[in-house]
Amino acid sequence: MAQGPIGQDDVRHVATLARLDLDEAEVVALTPQLAEILAYAEQVGEVAADDVEPMTHPLGLVDVLRDDVPAPGLAADAVLAAAPEVQEGRFAVPRIVEEDA
């Protein structure tokens, strides 16, 4: 089971994992809310034993593949039109690798 209620350091860690740049005021406000919601959600531990298979999908469809027939996709221009920044027909992002890395 989980190790005690979630604290502010946990919230900062999860925000990093989730790529959410939360300010301190929100970390402070969110911590008790998440603790309350998670305490409620932890009830699932009361009934589900390890021998019960987890259900991830209602219909249990597996290996769904369409027929291997070529079909037109979206035009690259139409897709790139929505991007905040484009260079040479590609999505552009700020530097990913640190200069001294």
Binding site: M1, A2, Q3, I6, D10, V11, V14, A15, T16, L17, A18, R19, L20, D21, L22, D23, E26, L30, Q33, L34, E36, I37, L38, Y40, A41, E42, Q43, V44, G45, E46, V47, A48, A49, V52, E53, P54, M55, T56, H57, P58, L59, L61, V64, R66, D67, L74, A75, A78, V79, A81, A82, A83, P84, E85, F91, V93, P94, R95, I96, E98
Partner: protein
């Protein structure tokens, strides 16, 4: 035929009138556009009407639509009329107007999902739901307001301000599909599309006196439906009567190769058994959902509806779903977990807003913090935590095991009864602002609707009567939920139709002391 009369008619009646030549599709569309222009709070100039900013909306404006594609709707209506005059054989809903939730793509028209994150994004393709509506010559009037990324139970989480309930303008229409529900309840469209992940069609249907159905998971394609929780999301119909809802779901459902989770088996025929009645049918009352925090008024309407079904020949039995009480905690782990993964795509790279920052990672984090509203941030945090190292077994996997137990409970119950019923919601519509500061209280609105979502079974809400709110109000709508085994959607419609015919409720709020929106013109 005068305009207010047209906005009172349902989809089937409008289609009949158009087929008989009594009215044109263009007249039908114009009557509904007029109602939107009068009551919704839009800037009705130009070809595309935009909702007014929240701070410019009047206290009587419903704010059901975010965008109204007025010129395109008129063009399509003219085209339907032209083809009908040419003798073309048109579908059963040809020329009927519809309100589309702003979580499904419509090519070239902004899709916002009620979020600032996607502002300005015009999708380059139609959702399969949209394509099927176009193919059936249903006329899409515009895109409707919703809780941001479908996360909410009141439409108050929209970045563009809440939608009001046409029955009581100080109350919520439910959510997340509150815009479509309000539009249909107010006579701005006879049909609406919502999406339901944990109750987001059924709860607003109950709150606005409509029929709303969550089809069997996989019956309606999710292609072009911006994902919240992929193993739960289903699009479905809103209408003011059961027949109209069945006609609309019949248009929506069917296998789609563009959605790997689409059900390849032939969909349920919803119309063939619609009028078969409930005589001899075994109806199970879910004991765990019957009492789940229900207001006395809601409970009385529910019990009266059961009596009525019994008088119609149904056999009413009490049935237990022993794990139903664990549905809500399981749902609030599974859905945020899937959301935290699905919403990773909003990273400031491919579409929508970007907040500039020196590196890709800081740009991602700054963009997402600025673009997502508080409830979406909260759910992403819950979901990320539930999937993180050291917690995934206690939270996500345990919740997924509870899902198995709930599905088994339903299978056992359906061995003894044909359908299961419960109140759709524990309360009538609550007041705007009443639950915005208490996430858990808001989540509890979904207690009766999430178990069917987790199991993937079809579930529908049908108006069962009216009851005042506990804090004192005019009578407000109460919904009865009908659930059936996987792929047996037709049974939910059959029971709902029998109840609807026996009750003969007027769907117009004005008939019950509410605002005069549906047929009464500008009498507010």
């Amino acid at each position: 035929m005068s305009d207010p009369a047209l906005t009172r008619l349902g989809a089937a009646a409008l289609a009949d009138a158009m087929r008989a030549g009594d009215v044109s599709a263009r007249e039908v569309v114009d009557a509904h556009l007029d109602r939107i222009a009068t009551h919704d709070g839009v800037d009705a100039s130009g070809d595309v009407w935009r909702a007014l900013p929240a701070d410019r909306l009047g206290p009587d404006d419903l704010h059901a639509f975010l965008v109204v594609t007025a010129a395109a709707a008129r063009e399509r209506a003219d085209d339907v009329d032209r083809r009908r005059r040419a003798g073309e054989d048109l579908g059963p809903l040809a020329g009927v107007p519809l309100a589309l939730k702003d979580v499904l793509t419509l090519r070239g028209v902004p899709t916002t999902c009620g979020s600032r994150m996607l502002e300005g994004w015009e999708p380059p393709y139609d959702a399969t739901v949209t394509r099927r509506l176009h193919d059936a010559d249903v006329i899409i009037l515009g895109k409707t307001n919703m809780d941001e990324f479908a996360m909410g139970s009141s439409t108050e989480n929209s970045a563009f301000g809440p939608t009001r309930n046409p029955w009581d303008l100080d109350r919520v229409p439910g959510g997340s599909s509150g815009g479509s529900a309000a539009a249909v309840a107010a006579g701005m469209a006879p049909l609406g599309i919502g999406t339901d992940t944990g109750g987001s069609i059924r709860q607003p249907a109950a709150f606005t006196g409509l029929v709303g159905a969550k089809p069997t998971y996989g019956a309606v394609s999710r292609h072009g439906l911006v994902a919240f929780a992929s193993s739960l999301d289903q699009a479905g119909p809103f209408a003011r009567d059961v027949t109209d809802a069945a006609l609309l779901q019949s248009v929506l459902q069917g296998h789609d190769p563009h959605d790997a989770t689409s059900d390849p088996t032939a969909p349920s025929d919803l119309l063939a058994t619609l009028r078969d009645g409930v005589a001899g049918l075994r109806i199970g009352v879910v004991t765990e959902l019957e009492d789940a925090g229900c207001e006395p008024g809601v409970r009385q309407v529910f019990l009266d509806a059961l009596d009525l079904l019994e008088r119609l020949g149904a056999r009413i039995e009490r049935v237990s779903l022993p794990h139903a009480a664990y549905g809500l905690p399981a749902y609030y782990l599974v859905a945020p977990a899937e959301a935290s993964s699905n919403l990773a795509r909003f990273d400031g790279v491919r579409y929508g807003n970007r907040v500039d920052a020196p590196t890709a990672e800081t740009m991602n984090a700054a963009t997402r913090a600025a673009g997502f509203g508080p409830e979406v941030r909260r759910r992403i945090m819950i979901g990320t935590h539930a999937l993180s190292s050291g917690y995934v077994d206690a939270y996500y996997l345990q919740a997924a095991r509870v899902r198995t137990l709930i599905a088994r409970d339903y299978a056992a119950a359906f061995a003894d009864v044909d359908v299961l019923v419960s109140p759709t919601t524990p309360t009538v519509p609550f007041r705007l602002g009443e639950r915005t500061d208490d996430p858990l209280a808001m989540y509890r609105s979904d207690v009766a609707t999430v178990p069917a979502s987790l199991a993937g079974i079809p579930a529908l809400s049908v108006p069962a009567g009216l009851a005042p709110a506990e804090d004192g109000s005019a009578p407000l709508p109460v919904g009865l939920q009908v659930m059936a085994p996987l792929r047996e959607d037709a049974r939910t419609y059959r029971v709902a139709f029998a109840l609807e015919q026996a009750l003969a409720l007027d769907p117009d709020p004005a008939a019950h002391g509410g605002p005069r929106l549906l047929g009464g013109g500008g009498a507010r």
